[in-house]
Subunit: 305 residues, 4 copies
């Protein structure tokens, strides 16, 4: 993780109602005294904890925490803090994983889209209302029809058409990867992007690619989930925000929600109703990710909401 | 359907707040003028419609309706009404299916249970509060431990142990069928009865056996759904009330609901939380059935709630 | 109600998945045979009913219905249908109220806004996705900051600043009324418009002005409901879509919903979370209105969803 | 707080799936280093934290925490732990409030009821299923009709009739107080007990008396909330679990929930539907209380769920 430049004009605080915080997330094998060590370290630098949560998973004997510290209470910059924390982390053993971030630094996000624009409208509308902790640095689409939305919000739009043939598709993904990589994003969001990502892309950006699937997973994986739902006659339909992995629709789930349907709702009507669930679930799941509230272990997530 | 005797002391009204109604449910191929015919027939006998709903399924071109008529507004008894309706039904073609019931006649219900008593407690508690339109005529269990609940509510309890071997199991099902058949119930409820019903039993009582499955079907069919849900890391767990068919967990769905879980919830905790969803979904689904609000077609249901 | 011109290019169908319908809504004193009369009339003109609902209110002895008829099944245009229905309506007595509309004719909507743009983004995004049965003919705002959203969607924006003094405010309302009246809208939506409408405006447009209030009414009427909610320590916050009447926040409720909050949520955080509920509730309530699903009686509504 | 006797046969663990925990809850003025002190103390006695949550309220500058420690990881009994913690608490200043409890010790609960039994059925059913961390030591009712439920569950029932006149009512409350006080309960639950408690009783048992109000407070305070809700035409009805205070329906809220209603639902139907919300909200709110998850400050609560 490269040091961040607070003087960058992009790095404004997320909104006037939120105070600036340093956020520590950490996972390691569980043991007595971890909280004491972390808390003593934070207090030793004057840190006032404004929000904290722990979780110890008894099955894997693993410890997870997220701690939000009032930035102005600390006597260190985020870079100094990271350096100071290194020896503490090392004491927690070789398998520790941690991250320290500064809420004053907006996360950079690339959105991938196809033809349906409801999630794109929703996320850019939230940003426009200064209500969402991210900067959308680019929108990449395989159709032209949503370009105007990005442009209306002053966001660069890249068109990468996806041919049907394998070679053409491979080349399109190479082009897409090049564009995405160039932005060094903190999150890549498949905002109803209807192409299956190649495994190497998923692996390169593991834990940073969020997908919104239009069903309540693991129900109705794969194509046309609303039609599957209608055929099965379910009384609730749902949406799932999950990290993309090479196994389609099988990555760690961040957030889910459902809405009620009835016998009156055709597959098309479910599609329409479901869009509301998709927007809501993606917006919530992505927010958890952007606020460093999600810790992945295996195929599961800890979400400190 | 044999005529019902309103003088039977069992046939008291469902509660003081509900007026007595005759309820017509009907399904037939869709055509122009069906509503007109039905409504003209009802009006012709002075019937005041207090609640009515229609649904025409465009895929199958099938028409469904449920009409609740204030009983005291009619100049006919329910038996006379059925007779008078016969020619109207015949005009709607050979495939019409219909039923006329009287809310003053309590539906008879047999509950099948195993070891877990939460649904049994819940349903009998509702009946005790005079809050539920049924008479529980018997509880059948394959373990003794819930007998006391039935007895506390003055309901006969039948113990039918289920051995592990195929022959013993077959005999147990024969005994169970004999008991159930003897009650001529309007509904048989698998209130967390953990045995798979034999196909002939399902077929004999098709459309009258309700099961509560402890997952959001079609997710996590089969055994130990909460453990499956925990393993997959879902953020919502659910329950499904459906008609039992020979295909396990695959019958027409009547009602579903979900509750939120987090990374903190172990499979056992999910089990505990899920019981609330199971009770609620079973109580709602069964009520729809008892109030003649559910019409089955293929593997789907119309629920006029 | 003036006849509508189907050849108007504006009057395109609401989306490819919806067939064109004629929608009859009607309320009158309850009596035997109303359904029969209506259904016989519809069938007499070949009308195939695709969705219908009735409700008879026992307290006021009033009958309400909404009937959706497949347009192409009828042998009349909507104008002819209205004319043909007149004598039927007259038979139902002098207090009958009814309306016949054609889903092929998009409803015209004027949106009133102040500074917060989340509802405006949401509604215009839905229209842009061809997902919502309305044409936004104008946005009127008392601040300039949301003009760009309307312009991005090709909708005229009218700036009407509201001074603090009574005279200035009165004049501003006169200007606003003139603009709105000029559009002859089917609905006027207060999409977080923070000015209290004068009584004569409410009365002139009675049953056509929809407001979104940012609380679960009747809790927290008036100003700063999220601050009131925080102070009272509630665990759910809500939003209410209702028809505006001269009595502030007291009009007939169309739709409500809630979201969960915790002790961690400051009033500002509640504001942020609540925006999701506001958008959802307004979108649903307005859709009910646009699809002629709402019938008002006294201070209550029948919503045939 | 008197020391608890672990050898008491009543003090069995809450269920096989839950490990025994020592639970620390604490509130004090916020300051740097509190977490470090607490965690260092716990770790110093070998304590493994299995669940922990903090909250610092910026408005009042107050710090709240709940920490669950695996009992078997500690080298102290709960009594020794309390003693050892005393000096730590004293360092946190004179305004600190704290409690240390042992989940192996079942909380004692007295239930107060009137005529409606749904909450009583529900809570006793949960206990019977070994699913709820409490022992119901007594049920007190002002009518005889629910006595049989308590008796079926082997719980003593006390009848205390409440006359209409002020003197009779005062005497009845004295009798009730004497009965309740004799049980030294950890919680007193007004399970639809329809009498307003006298202020001195509320104060004596402050923070231990839980009420379930059958509306979404602060909407529809006082009598007949479902009738009020029907009259106002709301689209959701709710229930609120709160601590009883001398100000009726105005105490700190622990939990709330809502269910959807429509124009079809009469006040009586709302009553019936609402019972499900009441049962659910009371069961959840009471569980939070019994698991020491609720910290009260002023008229608000912190609920560490």
């Amino acid at each position: 993780m490269t040091p961040l430049n607070i003087d960058d004009p992009r790095n404004r605080p997320t909104g006037s109602t939120r105070e600036r915080q340093f956020v520590l997330t950490l996972g390691c094998p569980d043991d007595t005294g971890i909280v004491a060590r972390l808390a003593t370290f934070i207090a030793g630098h004057g840190g006032l904890i404004t929000e904290a949560a722990y979780f110890a998973d008894p099955q894997n004997n693993w410890f997870f925490t997220r701690q939000a510290i009032r930035a102005e209470s600390m006597d260190l910059s985020i870079e100094q803090l990271r350096e100071a924390f290194l020896p503490v982390a090392q004491e927690l053993g070789p398998r520790v994983q941690w991250q320290l971030s500064d809420t004053a630094v907006l996360k950079k996000v690339v959105l991938l889209v196809s033809r349906e624009g409801h999630c794109l409208h929703d996320l850019l509308g939230r940003v426009a209302e200064n209500d969402y902790p991210m900067e959308v640095v680019a929108v990449v689409g395989n159709h032209e029809n949503l370009a105007y939305i990005a442009e209306n919000h002053g966001v660069p739009f890249h068109l990468v058409p996806f041919p049907k043939d394998a070679v053409g598709k491979r080349r399109a993904f190479e082009e897409l990867a090049e564009i995405v990589n160039g932005y060094e994003p903190d999150a890549i969001v498949l905002a109803r992007f209807m192409q299956v990502l190649p495994p190497d892309f998923c692996e390169m950006w593991a834990g940073k690619v969020l997908n919104i699937h239009h069903s309540f997973l693991p129900s109705f994986m794969g194509a046309r989930p609303y039609h599957q739902a209608h055929k099965r006659g379910v009384k609730l339909i749902g949406a799932t925000c999950h990290y993309a992995t090479p196994d389609l629709d099988d990555g760690p789930i961040i957030e889910q929600d459902v809405i009620r349907v009835t016998h009156k709702d055709s597959p098309e009507e479910m599609q329409r109703l479901g869009r509301d669930a998709e927007k809501r679930v993606l917006a919530r799941g992505l927010r958890y990710h952007l606020e460093d509230r999600v810790l992945v272990y295996g195929n599961r997530t800890v979400v400190f909401d």
